[in-house]
Amino acid sequence: MITSEILLSLVSSAFVLMIFSFLYRDNFWFHLASNIYICGTAAYTTAMALRTLYFQGLVPIYGGSSWYLLALIGSVLMFMRFVRGYEWLVRWPTAALVGAGIALNMAAAAQAQIAAQIVDTMKSVFTPSITTNINNLVIISGVCFVTLFFLFSKETKGVMKPVNRIGRCFLMVALGSSFAYALLGRTSLLLERFKILVAFPDNLLMVLAAALIAYDALSRRKS
């Protein structure tokens, strides 16, 4: 018996396959699925934004927190960029947002992201554990060489040439690690979908999609 859960799963799998079909070639089904996705996302985002505006903007005003009106006026001013001749009004709420954001961020950032990180880089390379010493040495030298790599006021010649090269090596290792993590993440996303696709009855859709692609490939080869 087809339950609503199975039906929902089939619809979800069909959309996944329609989007994946782009890997074979651009086609109608891919565009259909991507357009429906965009519509759904836009509708959901708008509905949630209106809900937020109501509960966090209008309800407090009705409840007597009249100073929320200032925020509401600021929000309206944000839309002034669409009114010809009044575009400049956008600057006021933007300035307030930027000012508050920077003020909130700066004080804590100095402590959390600069001081704490510098303190953590001051590691001992003379601990009883050899592996810890090696790790600490790599961290200290990595920070020093990469910082020197970004020292733009010194020309890359003489002693700065090998220093820059080592700094670049550290950066390349970091970029390589980032790429590997990106691969892990993307594979995870793919697997989350495939876990559903390989299960019955969704796997029937996959067989159908494979057959359609094979048929298309053969007929294109013949023509």
Binding site: L23, Y24, Y44, T45, M48, A49, T52, F55, Q56, V59, P60, G63, A100, G101, L104, N105, A108, A109, Q111, A112, Q113, A116, Q117, V119, D120, A174, S177, S178, Y181, A182, L183, L184, G185, T187, S188, L189, L190, L191, E192, R193, F194, K195, V198
Partner: protein
């Protein structure tokens, strides 16, 4: 084969799909260790006293569901039997609250003898990012009036004990961007000394390791791999564990493809010279 691959990358997709599908259908059972970071997250969760309060923040959206939803579910499954109270709110995107709702339905509060409003509250999506996180830490009730289901928070018994950051024992941020754990560190840890842990998508995970090393984050879970390790560690094998074999095979194929492509590039270059 190299020629086919270099002429048409679609063969690589086919190879990759077949490679990951086989272990999904028939798991191989490749060994998997538990990393120190996962143990740190586990210890942080276990350090919360029974009846303590945890703020669980799904700072991710639908597009990161594949990486973080399993993590959200297993963290939920770990916290509920401990008797810990959970308040949740998302700051990343409008769909974060929906994902929290999905996790709650997957786990089922009733399965653990818990009640909504008493043991768990979902405040929904709160816009404003860092400003909101800061405001929430100062006075929750001044900022939030209703929960995700439009119930006034004054009617929810759990919310009477959650008024400011100081009431929270641990923040768990499941992040799709490294700026989220950083925001929590800046606004809650620096100001109130709140402990912070969580999990992140793989792309941003390396950027957070510095904070783990400095002790600003109490460990961090690494994408679906971290979720799988956590599932094993807590004895809740679930959605992440079943994909780990396929993940490893996918990585092996990617490494082989990188090696083969570089080899073909070098051989081509040599044959030209």
């Amino acid at each position: 084969m190299l020629k086919k691959l270099s002429k048409d990358p679609r063969w690589l997709y086919v190879l990759f799909l077949i490679g990951i599908m086989i272990p999904l259908v028939k798991p191989i059972g490749l060994p998997m260790g538990i990393s120190d970071n996962t143990r740190k997250v586990y210890d942080a969760l276990k350090s919360v006293p029974a009846d303590g309060l945890v703020f669980l923040s799904p700072d991710f959206a639908v597009e990161n569901r594949g990486e973080l939803q399993a993590m959200l579910v297993v963290i939920f499954k770990t916290l509920l039997p401990m008797g810990v109270k959970i308040v949740s709110a998302g700051f990343y995107g409008v769909s974060s609250a929906m994902l929290m709702d999905e996790a709650m339905n997957t786990v089922g509060l009733a399965n653990y003898g818990k009640k909504y409003g008493v043991d768990f509250v979902n405040l929904g999506y709160l816009p404003g990012e860092e400003t909101t996180i800061a405001a929430l830490g100062a006075d929750v009730h001044a900022l939030v009036k209703v929960d995700y289901y439009n119930k006034p928070i004054s009617d929810l018994p759990l919310m009477s004990r959650f008024r400011r950051a100081g009431d929270v024992n641990l923040v768990i941020s499941l992040a799709a961007g490294n700026e989220y754990p950083e925001k929590w560190i800046r606004q809650w840890q620096v100001k109130y000394g709140t402990k912070i842990t969580g999990g992140a998508v793989a792309m941003i995970y390396p950027a957070l390791l510095g904070y783990v090393a400095s002790g600003q984050l109490q460990g961090y879970l690494d994408s679906s791999r971290g979720a799988a390790e956590f599932e094993i560690l807590t004895g809740n094998p679930g959605a992440a564990v079943v994909t780990m074999d396929a993940q490893s095979i996918g990585h092996i194929i990617a490494i082989l493809a990188i090696v083969l492509c570089n080899l073909s590039y070098i051989l081509k270059k040599e044959s030209r010279t």
